[in-house]
């Protein structure tokens, strides 16, 4: 599609970011100490905010990813 998304990415609040961290970090087998959680959540929110800028930008389906693999 080439038009702007009709359903833009929504900001991530603390509760949702906490849920993401609590669900995803154990999936990677990372032993996260409780005292790290707050700053990890802040970083997840910062990344999500950056990602919204990217996700909400329309790109034609023909735009290829930048890295090119050659066998």
């Amino acid at each position: 599609m080439t038009t702007s998304p009709s359903s833009p990415a929504v900001p991530l609040d603390d509760d949702s970011a906490g849920a993401v961290v609590d669900a995803m970090v154990p999936l990677s087998g990372i032993p996260m100490a409780p005292e790290w959680r707050e700053t990890v959540i802040a970083s997840v929110k910062a990344t999500a905010a950056a990602a919204r800028l990217v996700l909400d930008f329309p790109l034609d389906d023909t735009v290829e990813p930048a890295p090119v693999f050659r066998a």
């Binding site: 100490a33 950056a50 990602a51 800028l53 996700l55 735009v63 930048a66 890295p67």
Partner: protein
């Protein structure tokens, strides 16, 4: 010899027989011993190998062997470069338990083949995920112009060692700005070549999509000599582009003749302290650049670089995050852990946006040859400073130091950071940006700004 000598000046003196390599190395080692305790640029001093190499070079010279273009030039490298006999720590505690490197990184070997002599490894932000030059394990590298201030990072020691006059040449890495930010804060020249130009073999990675290696020095000629010595195909680096060696040093004398130079407007003309833009104006006046050009969607480019960086770095560090998370610098660890939660679709989208953005920016080079932009939005911050004010808004310091560098390295454009003084304060720098593979044009314009007396990198007082 003094700490004011440039690499080119030292090499010329050694070639002419006015100076021995051994004398240059002893002088450099003495400066490091005297000054570095207050600057904390070095994490390792390789005195024994440097003395042996210098003696061998002097013996070769005495036997009539022609000296290399960097004969007798002492240099040092960010400690993510492999140095034979040292574990490649990359600013970390964890890597210190690695086996010592079996041989030097590719660029060290190339500089030494040109006659330069390695004298040590340099402090850096942990695993290069840093714009400050602070390090939880080795202590912060300190800005030689004001030791209470940051060097910028992550190649903090590389900027500090040059600015303090310890060595005339260092190597750093630049993923999102890590050569250009220390160049701005410490007032040195720095070159981030085109993505894929110089071999990354024998260096500890950070973000495969954006990692670049390059030199820092106190003159454009020194950057150029070092850059020319490091070019060339290396089968050990699968990311390197198939480019011929394209020497730049001879082209410097052409100056700005025939070049179309513009100042980046829009995103690159706001969001920083006024002096950052004043530095760009001074540089533009020096090369008679009057036109302005808009780099489209730069904020989005920075955002996409942010997402890809966080994801690729997290993927690289996953094993260590599982095994030794408590041994990281907390400021790095928590961002890496957060990076493991990023949906793959976001990264894919960011890499597709990168293609879109590259095409739009490359089209600008149909109209201009070189673009000038600020390097950082501020002068060197105080060590430990967590926030700063940009356009009246308080923002976190760490991520925002790189707002002007990230959109450029995101698509691998060659950039020379040119140090400029505005109003007698601490240094700032201007990015001199060219199209891919046109390092020659960026260096020619940087050289013209230097020749006009606007760009300069004096040793810190």
């Amino acid at each position: 010899m003094t700490n004011q000598e440039t690499a080119v000046g030292i090499a010329a003196a050694v070639a002419a027989g006015r100076l021995t390599a051994s004398a240059t190395i002893e002088a450099a080692l003495a400066r490091i011993a005297a000054v570095d305790p207050g600057v904390n640029a070095f994490t390792d001093v390789t005195a024994e190998r440097a003395r042996a190499r210098a003696a061998a070079l002097d013996a070769e010279r005495a036997a009539g062997k022609p000296p290399g273009p960097l004969a007798g030039v002492p240099f040092a490298v960010k400690n993510l470069f492999d140095v034979a006999g040292l574990p490649t720590r990359a600013g970390s505690k964890i890597n210190r338990t690695r086996a010592p490197a079996a041989r030097d990184g590719a660029l060290i070997r190339r500089l030494e083949a040109a006659g330069a002599i390695l004298v040590g490894a340099l402090n850096m932000g942990e695993y290069a995920y840093d714009f400050t030059g602070e390090n939880a394990h080795d202590g912060p590298s300190r800005n030689p112009h004001d030791r209470g201030r940051m060097t910028g990072g992550s190649s903090g020691g590389s900027g500090a060692a040059v600015a303090a006059g310890l060595v005339p040449l260092t190597l750093g890495s630049d993923t999102n700005g890590s050569i250009r930010v220390p160049s701005a804060f410490c007032g040195t020249f720095g070159l981030k070549p085109t993505f894929g130009r110089l071999s990354r073999a024998g260096s500890f990675p950070f973000v495969a999509s954006f990692d670049h290696l390059g030199p820092l020095a106190r003159s454009v000629a020194d950057l150029s000599f070092a850059y020319d010595a490091m070019q060339g195909e290396d089968p050990d680096d699968p990311w390197q582009a198939p480019r011929p060696v394209e020497p730049v040093t001879a082209a410097l004398a052409q100056g700005t003749s025939g070049l179309r130079i513009a100042v980046a407007g829009g995103y690159f003309a706001r969001g920083g302290e006024p002096d950052c833009f004043a530095a760009v104006r001074l540089a533009a006046e020096a090369v008679a650049a009057t036109r302005s050009i808009e780099i489209p969607e730069a904020a989005r480019a920075r955002a996409a670089a942010f997402v890809i960086t966080a994801s690729e770095a997290a993927g690289l560090h996953l094993d260590r995050l599982r095994e030794r998370p408590g041994d990281y610098d907390p400021a790095v660890r928590d961002r890496l852990i957060a990076g493991t939660t990023i949906p793959a679709a976001w990264v894919h989208r960011a890499q597709r946006f990168r293609s879109w953005y590259r095409a739009r920016v490359l089209a600008l080079f149909d109209e201009v040859d070189v673009i000038l932009a600020p390097c950082t939005p501020c002068r060197a911050l105080t060590i430990g400073q967590a926030t700063m004010e940009l356009d009246g808004v308080t923002v976190p310091a760490r991520p925002n130091i790189g707002i002007f560098t990230q959109p450029i390295s995101f698509i691998g454009l060659p950039v020379v950071a040119v140090p400029v003084r505005v109003g007698g304060g601490l240094p700032l720098a201007v990015q001199v940006i060219a199209a891919p593979w046109r390092e020659d044009l960026a260096l020619r314009v940087a050289g013209a700004i230097e020749a006009a007396g606007v760009g300069a990198a004096p040793v810190a007082g």
